[in-house]
Symmetry: C4
């Protein structure tokens, strides 16, 4: 790749490098990750590229300049900043999502403890609190068991979330993947997924859960996607 | 509204803007909220107004000048600072409480995890620890299932708390609302509600709870409302 | 009291004011207290006095000069710094312990969540981990149900801990009191009490606990009281 | 020992003193220890020496110059910095590991709450999440009950971990020991051990765990030991 092309890419990704790097701080701050686990990526607007965390780097050492720019096959773009390092070992899964879900602008992966506990039982999280209806529109589903090494994790994420209200999937015996309209939206989904995973776990430990009628779940989800916040935001539905 | 009227309101709310903004920090610091969830409001002494958090703003971005001044129907006062934003999506519930409970000076709403877990089972928190008798005078009650969009949440809060010793209500499948003589007192109630929700949950997981005799609960509550702290404070009873 | 006497007392308590004030930070830092709950006191060496936290003051506002100097009946010494405020509402219990247990140099009270959960079931914490044998020499016992207002809490603490290896007692349906050779030692006992209350609770939730043979508990306790740390320290046994 | 020898040792351990001291901060930061509990050590490359924490010192007071240099019998080297203090009371166990496992470069000991809860039931942690297969290659095993005072803890650690994929052992009714190629690797194992102990505990509380097929565990472990991170790292297999 020519120096000219690299410079054009760096210009296009400069803001996103900082956004993605900064958003990583939300993962340890919200108790979603330990050590070097977890990763956030964001699609580069107008390019077939995304920005993702390097593999095996401690959180305090993350910085805009060591985020890695990848094409939609998950290959680092030679010559760009950080391309001397390996991207996150989950890059193939992120890449598969960006290739096949054009409306997705951000992807997050964590092994957050309560959500991963549901995943270890291959059990969806039932929608028994209104905040979960707002954010996810129903239960958080379980995706297939798949291991790293090919496209099987990416395929499982897409097969589960495509057409689903939820922006979060519990990959069986593994952890959480979330999608969003941008990286921040996907991080929000990861934070709220762990929050509801914890609350519903605690609730279930104490006795019988009371379900919310489906029409109320629908009403809450529709309202939240349209009117919450300072301008329309939320999921991608 | 004239510039003169706006200036008079801003003069009346200046201290309260800072109090309410600062008190919001207690919510994440005490583990009561995630992301932009939760809200605190305070009544403006001597005016039919209250100050509340804007909708969908991250906690570190809250500041006195973006708190929103509302009338008792929950409408932002045109021309006041922050009135270009939407107030919290829970503003209607806060407004209903201020309209119908004139002794209430502060309202807080959270989805704090342990309290919301009890709410997901529509189960009141039994009063089995003396600190809970001090603070709440008995069990923390469950309010009706109600969804956002009209006065039904506000009506449920008032119907449950009016005449009740508790300053906290677990709204079914939703979360916690607390009231207080001022915003700080309502925040204290929200913090203590989560504390007892957690302790009693843990206790119940381990076996049989030992009840406290009603006359002891009464004695503890009456003492705490009258003699604790540097001067009389506590609930509004 | 003469200005001269007050000055002599202030000279005697200057270091202790700072120690007791600083030690209070350990309570929120270790998750033992919420809001203004919890209190630490320390005996003034060579005087029938102790220093304790004021009532109802937020943790960040505690400082050496607002700690309160009390006699062994729990009365603030007129003219000393901070004596315009009320001492902690638990002062009578601290005073009773200092009056009747001359070897005690520090007392701590908290409603730390896991320990208070055991207290809500009036259930002692069994000694199933070696760190608990080291620190407490066996189970952490339950004291009687007693409410604030007279000496009954203090009597219950002393009746339970006098001659017991444990420096911590779970007061029934209330919370934890710990004693120590000085204020720091009592704070350590409060921190370790919550730690073992949590670990043993989690262990018990998962299945059958494996007991430690009594002779091993004895050996661990005896060794720890004599050889751990840079010089002999630990409990008062 | 001559001043010359001491100077040579100090030159050899200078970097390691800082590494081991700094790594201790990971223990409280990750919720693995309370008060003065827990310890990290690292082998001095090319010498029959290791560096370890002093006994009974608070975490904020740890510094490179108070770390203690010991020979492989666990005796502090006279004349070296910090040798006027006692090394960690767990030094004998660390020394035994270094003597008998020459490929081990770091050892960590904690009483982290979830892992110690499994230890209190003498129950291994089953491998039901892929991140655990990556890091530990299967279940985290239980070692024998052994108490401090001779080599029995060290012998139990080595007997359990020698030839095992796991770098962590749950010593019965006691806590966790981890080993690594260096001190940082052992700290990582301690952090991840607590993480999986917590997640699997929570999962088990909620119902039936779904096992991962053995061939998938094998594939995950082999890949992670060889390709994760910026260069080959991970366990010592």
């Amino acid at each position: 790749m020519s120096d000219h092309d690299v410079a054009a890419i760096e210009a296009a990704v400069a803001d996103l490098r900082k956004q993605v790097s900064d958003l990583h701080a939300q993962l340890p701050d919200n108790g979603l990750v330990m050590w070097t686990g977890g990763n956030v990526s964001g699609r580069v607007p107008g390019h077939d590229l995304f920005v993702i965390k390097p593999s095996g780097v401690m959180y305090p050492d993350l910085a805009p300049e060591n985020m890695i720019v990848c094409d939609l096959d998950g290959n680092a773009i030679p010559g760009t900043l950080g391309s001397d390092r390996s991207p996150s070992s989950d890059t193939a899964a992120h890449a598969y999502v960006y290739r096949t879900m054009p409306h997705v602008g951000g992807v997050v992966h964590t092994h957050s403890p309560y959500a991963t506990a549901w995943a270890a039982r291959n059990e969806e999280i039932p929608c028994v609190i209104t905040g979960m209806a707002d954010e996810f529109g129903g239960p958080i589903p379980v995706g297939p068991f798949a291991i790293i090494g090919d496209d099987s994790i990416g395929r499982g994420i897409v097969a589960t979330l495509d057409g689903h209200r939820s922006r979060a999937v519990l990959m069986a015996n593994h952890g959480v993947f979330t999608i969003g309209k941008d990286a921040k939206d996907a991080v929000k989904a990861a934070v709220m997924c762990e929050d509801v995973a914890r609350t519903v776990h605690i609730a279930k430990q104490g006795g019988e859960l009371v379900p919310i009628p489906q029409d109320k779940i629908d009403a809450l989800f529709n309202r939240y996607q349209n009117v919450y916040g300072q301008k329309p935001q939320g999921g991608m539905a």
